[in-house]
Amino acid sequence: MTTIRETIDEANAEALRRMLAADPVLVDVIPAGEAMPALGDRTILHAGPPIDWDRMCGPMRGAVAGIAVFEGWAPDLKIAATMAAEGMFDFQPNHHFDAVGPMTGMTTMSQPVMVVENRTFGNRAFCAINEGLGKVMRFGGNDEEVRARLRWLRDVLGPSLGQALRLGGGIELKNIIARGLTMGDEMHQRNVGCSGLFLRSIAAPLARTGTDHLDLAEILGFVAGNDQFFLNVAMVMGKAIMDPVRDIDGSTIVTAMSRNGTDFGIRVSGTGDRWFTAPVEMPAGLYFPGFTEEDANPDMGDSTIVETIGLGGFAMAAAPAVAGFVGAGAASEAANYTKAMGEITLSENPEWTIPGLDYAGVPTGIDIRLVVETGIAPTINTGIAHKEPGIGQVGAGVVKAPMDCFKQAVFAFAQEMGVSA
């Protein structure tokens, strides 16, 4: 007779096999409404677990108002906010549509989304294009400058990028990540290497699209001028990797971690698509000149999908430069973050290795049992948004996933397995 331990071990081995066998390829950029046919008019996808307007934080509300004006659903921000309060928009998590979005994570029908196909399992995942730094919608920015950039992404960059990807046959992402880790990226708060590698891969196909040469120059300049361009690529890759890991009976592996600025939520393979939520925590970090912790909004965004696959805070040892940027301490301390994450994961990824740790693989497969037993919460590298709508990013820092999410998950998983204390 199989013991509970053997059942869990077998299920987790299968979960890890699926994670490591993934073959994510960036294949296209298409309108969100085409990528996700269920995404209807006046439906707004947001980061994190489900949330209604009443409980949304300031930057999330600002982004909702901005995206409603962008889509033409409201003539101005004030009326958009009133419409939202009156229930005229349908709010849904990105994760419920095979999608992810950074910070506020706004995804609506006319926005272009990047499409990553996991060629091993045939599933696809989606994410909007990174808008750059500073006052942008993902940090709650919503004025005309922000919306004009979104229109340019929709009308110029998105279609050209999609055409270039189709012409070039797509970009295989695992290899880019492997090289990025050797170039000092952890793929959450540092994407300098990967953004450069991405530009190298896409430049020639972009030139072959026949895009007007001034538009082409602007596209290349936009990608080259944004060190975080690759973040959204890493995120959608993470979603494409983790979705086939969902719903494995008996597995204690975390399949998603996500925040909406109010609640932090996790999903676990063995408990299906149920969210386990707890209040989000405040990042400890460094602030841009003129801003302090007083200005900060608590933790937010679907970008924790990169930690879920062993990158971001889990790969801090690969990115000593980012340790200083996010206020995590001296460069020499970066390795300790990765080693600590090794205490709550079941394996390492042999294809994604860290030179500074003698080529150890990134910690892979977060086990809810190990998190609760050790009391070590997943470490997340994150941007920090201003708490008021419309302002944007004010800093970057490190934050912990709330332990209560994992405790709830352990109790629910035990019940699923017919185990009680």
């Binding site: 204690t252 609760v372 037993e373 009391g375 332990m403 397995m417």
Partner: protein, 59 residues
């Protein structure tokens, strides 16, 4: 510990390994006593029900 051993211990330069609460190691470090901190906390944060559950779930 005998008085003799006790006296011998305090008569030498101390080398300390502190397990758990790091306040003790910080106090010693502030007094230039060599100390190695071992991070440790009770399983499941000291919650016996959770610890028992984890044990039944294969840990």
């Amino acid at each position: 510990m005998s008085d003799q051993a006790h006296n011998g211990l305090l008569g030498k330069q101390l080398k300390v390994i502190n397990v758990g609460l790091d306040g003790f190691s910080k106090e010693l470090a502030d007094r230039d006593v060599p100390v190695v901190q071992v991070q440790w906390s009770p399983p499941a944060g000291g919650d016996p029900k959770l610890a028992e559950l984890l044990s039944k779930l294969g840990l």
